[in-house]
């Protein structure tokens, strides 16, 4: 189907935004990987989830399928760069579950939940998804020993990510590139 010039301009903008967001998300993941969380007494493998800032912001501005592409891109790129290819499936499982939960909440729960609640739900879904994936691989449920700790850290990082998204959405809304995507 041929697109009109304004349609193709919009499509191009979407692509550019997804690309920029993916780049920022990867950089955030790389920065985050440099922070030794274990030293602060957190559970090993716990992440701050900064990349979630970009994914949640993308859900707000663009369509679900654009955010989906962003999730896949970000997970693939960080897995390649950080050299943890073997855990790619775990990240993918967690990221996709988190994306689905946040997308549904933005779509249907957007009036009840604020950005902060949605980001918390996404973070919790990410943690739980990864533990489920690990439990399936290990054929053992003993890994759920860490779920309570992960839930609490998930709430804390979810609040931080939520506030970041709130400011980011407010700032980006002033940029002309994002103008036509404002709901």
């Amino acid at each position: 189907m041929p697109m009109s010039s304004s349609e193709s301009a919009t499509a191009l903008k979407r692509t550019v935004i997804v690309a920029i967001f993916a780049a920022v998300a990867v950089v955030l993941s790389l920065l985050e990987a440099q922070i030794p969380l274990v030293g602060v007494g957190l559970m090993p493998g716990a992440k701050l989830g900064f990349a979630n800032i970009m994914i949640l912001t993308c859900i707000f501005f663009l369509r679900g399928r654009d955010a989906f592409v962003l999730v896949i891109l970000k997970t693939l790129l960080t897995s390649f760069l950080l050299g943890t290819f073997s855990s790619l499936l775990f990240s993918l499982f967690g990221s996709l579950l988190s994306f689905v939960v946040m997308f549904l909440l933005v779509k249907w729960g957007g009036k009840k939940f604020s950005v902060i609640g949605i980001s918390i739900a996404g973070g919790l879904a990410h943690n739980t998804g990864q533990l489920f994936a690990a439990a399936i691989v290990f054929k053992s449920t003993s890994i759920f020993y860490y779920l309570p700790v992960l839930l609490i850290t998930g709430i804390v990082t979810g609040i931080v990510v939520g506030y970041a998204v709130r400011y980011l959405v407010a700032s980006l809304s002033k940029i002309s590139l994002f103008e036509e995507f404002l709901g």
Partner: protein, 130 residues
């Protein structure tokens, strides 16, 4: 924050604390010590690799698979991951674990170490390996 946010946070917090608090209050018999004869079950890829007694004396356990190696050290009635050639080194961060149900996981190598009471050692394997 809206009301639904606060509700979500409180429900999750209560659920998490409901699991954590009993662990803090758990009696002394769950703690490490010479009388408890704790064992660590090491599984690779869901299959039992080895069961080791947690002793005060130091023991080193080599877990070598086609995915890579993990070196575990038993000492002071606990066990810790000493070295591994996995890319993320997350397993090294679990530290020295001494209580039943505590685990060390190495995702890249599919290695799982879980502490169990002596009673649930080799006889009880079917309970957690499907």
């Amino acid at each position: 924050m809206k009301r639904a946010d606060v509700l979500l946070i409180s429900i999750v917090l209560i659920a998490a604390l409901a699991f954590i608090v009993p662990r803090w209050l758990s009696s002394d018999k769950d703690k490490a010590g010479p009388d408890n004869n704790l064992v660590a079950n090491i599984t690779v890829d869901g299959k039992l690799y080895k069961t080791v007694k947690l002793t005060k004396e130091e023991q080193t356990i080599d877990v070598r698979t086609e995915r890579g190696y993990n070196i575990l050290k038993v000492h002071d009635y606990g066990i810790e991951m000493y070295d591994a050639d996995c890319p993320d080194k997350v397993c090294l961060g679990f530290g020295h674990i001494t209580r039943p149900k505590q685990t060390i996981v190495c995702l890249p190598h599919r290695v799982l170490v879980e502490i169990a009471g002596a009673g649930s050692g080799e006889d009880d394997i079917d309970a957690y390996v499907q």
